[in-house]
């Protein structure tokens, strides 16, 4: 299984390649007014406006560094009618890793999006479940937008 490794704050994380739509360079975003702090802007992507969430802000409480390695990973969450595209901004998005073996780490019920660790890679990156990643309040915002 191919996975994309990245960092959010101090945490070394990874996303399965099948969940990823496209990786985009960091671009200036239109900052939405009165939005929750983690939503840093709207990205025009394939004819729609895709909301972008800063994972650094969500996990570590600080915005991502303004570097070339900071990129936007567009992922697909939900299924059927509720399927949505969401941009996730993270740091050091530049490494593709093969993960043949995975191992279960700590089980944190309030952080269900943190999945198994990739066992055969240095730093043991933790796989992320994008559908569980975002808080329900944020998903509700995006879903309501889709209905409207």
């Amino acid at each position: 299984m191919l996975a994309l490794a990245f960092r959010a704050g101090d945490a070394l994380l990874a996303l399965a390649a099948r969940d990823i739509v496209e990786v985009l360079p960091r671009v200036p975003l239109r900052t939405p007014s009165l939005a929750p702090a983690a939503v840093i802007g709207l990205l025009p992507f394939r004819g729609t406006l895709t909301p972008v969430v800063d994972l650094c802000l969500l996990v570590a409480g600080r915005p991502s560094a303004r570097q070339l390695g900071t990129r936007i990973i567009v992922v697909r969450i939900g299924s059927g009618d509720k399927e949505r595209l969401v941009g996730l901004q993270a740091e050091q998005v530049s490494e593709l890793i093969d993960c043949e073996r995975t191992a279960r780490g700590l089980h944190l019920p309030e952080h269900a999006w943190l999945g198994e660790h990739v066992a055969d890679q240095p730093g043991l990156p933790q796989l992320v479940d994008p559908s569980e990643l975002l808080p329900d309040a944020l998903i509700a915002l995006f879903t309501d937008r889709a209905d409207a």
Binding site: L4, R18, E22, V23, P25, L68, R71, S94, L96
Partner: protein, 549 residues
Amino acid sequence: MQRNSQLASRLSIFVGVFLILFAGFAMVAWRTLDQVRVKGALYDEIILGNDLIADILPPPQYIIESYLLTLQLVEEKDPAEITRLIERGNELRIEYENRQEHWKRVLAKDTMGDLMTVTSSRAAMEFYRLRDGDFVNAIRAGDRELARKVLEQMRQRYEAHRYAILEVVQLARQRNAKFETQADELIVGQTRTLALLALGIVLVVVVMAWFARRAAATLSDRVQLVSDIADRVAQGDLTTTVPTTDDRDETGRLLTAISGMNQSLRGLVTRVKQASVELMSTATEFAATSRQQESTVQGFGASTNEIAAAVKQIAATSQELLATMEGLNAVSGQTADLAEQGQSGLSNLDSTMDRLAQAANAMAARLAAIREEAAEITGVVTTISKVADQTNLLSINAAIEAEKAGEQGLGFLVLAREIRRLADQTAVATLDIEQMVKQMQTAVSAGVMEIDRFAEEVRSGVGTVDRVGGQFGQIISQVKTLSERFDTVNHGMRSQSQGARQIGEAMGQLLDGARQTSLSLREFNAATESLRDAVTVLKQEIAKFNLGS
């Protein structure tokens, strides 16, 4: 009200009442005397005389004598006697008429007046007319018969006259009796009034006497009381409370005044007592202060001695300083010579410094060129980095797509991985270049800074050399002026030494002054002691006054 009126006014009221009563008494008495004085003893004597004359003399208003004369004439034969009797008759007539005039004036026009002046008078005048006319003519002619007939007529007139006169006498007697009765009644009434008035006067005098006695008693009591209080105050007992009274008269006011005097005396003595205590403490303070001042003056004398010694020392020191200054003057001359030598050496150093500054400027220009080239290298490296980044991104997306394609994408995935590896290598290389350029830039910057600092130092060195040259010049000129100033200082030192000597003398005088002050203070001490003694005596005097609690 009666008690509030003053003694004098009360007495005045009594005297006024007495005077009014006495005046009334006098007036009543006078009026009585005026009305009934005819009843006095003197009047009785006069009346007695008049009665006697009236009894003896023929009454002029009663013509009986004239009638008797006519009877005598009828019988008379002697012609001389006849003439004398006729003459006498004429005289009587004149007398009658005169008296008649008098009575007409005096008597009132009442019944008695009419009888007297009209009825009796008319009859009398008829009688006289007949006598003067027919009767006298008949007598002179010697016709006795005719004379007797006329006499008969005349007798009738005389009778009429006599009746009227008797009537008048009757009426006059009645009138007199009436007046006497009135006079008696008046005297009785006025005597009673006078008795009442006399009783009133006696009563007033008694009341006056009683009041005067009472007033004198009150006055005496109060004066005695006031005298007692005054005695006690004189003995120094001020505790007495003076009984106050509501009376507004003289004694009441005297009591009030004594009370006020007692109170104010008590206040005065209290204040004097306090004042004497304060005076005592003040005197004590005086003594303490003057003693302190004396010791201060003695201390001052000692300090003055010390100052005098110090001044002497100053004079000696300034003499020493004078000698030192002269040595310094010689040294400054040598300094001026050395400074002149230094100035000539500096002008050679100046040109060398200029050359150094130029070299430093050239080095700085070359380093600036190196820095610019390094900046260009950085720009190229940045471009390479961006390309490598794009390549990395493309390879990631390609790998993801290949992964999604599954088996068909495997070959493509390998290719993508190769591209990504190349891109990574490029990125690493660019990182190395960037690192090197950064190091070079740092070195250049340090070099530029060093050169700048060196140039700055050279520049400041040139400035310093200039400044040092200028300072040498200043030193030379200052050393020259120094000699003049040394002279001035020497002069000043000399006058300072003299001044110190003068200060020493002044200190001696000051010491004398302090000694005199000390003497005066001792005298002042003595005066304070005597003041304290006087206050003690005053206190003893005041202690004689008993103020109560």
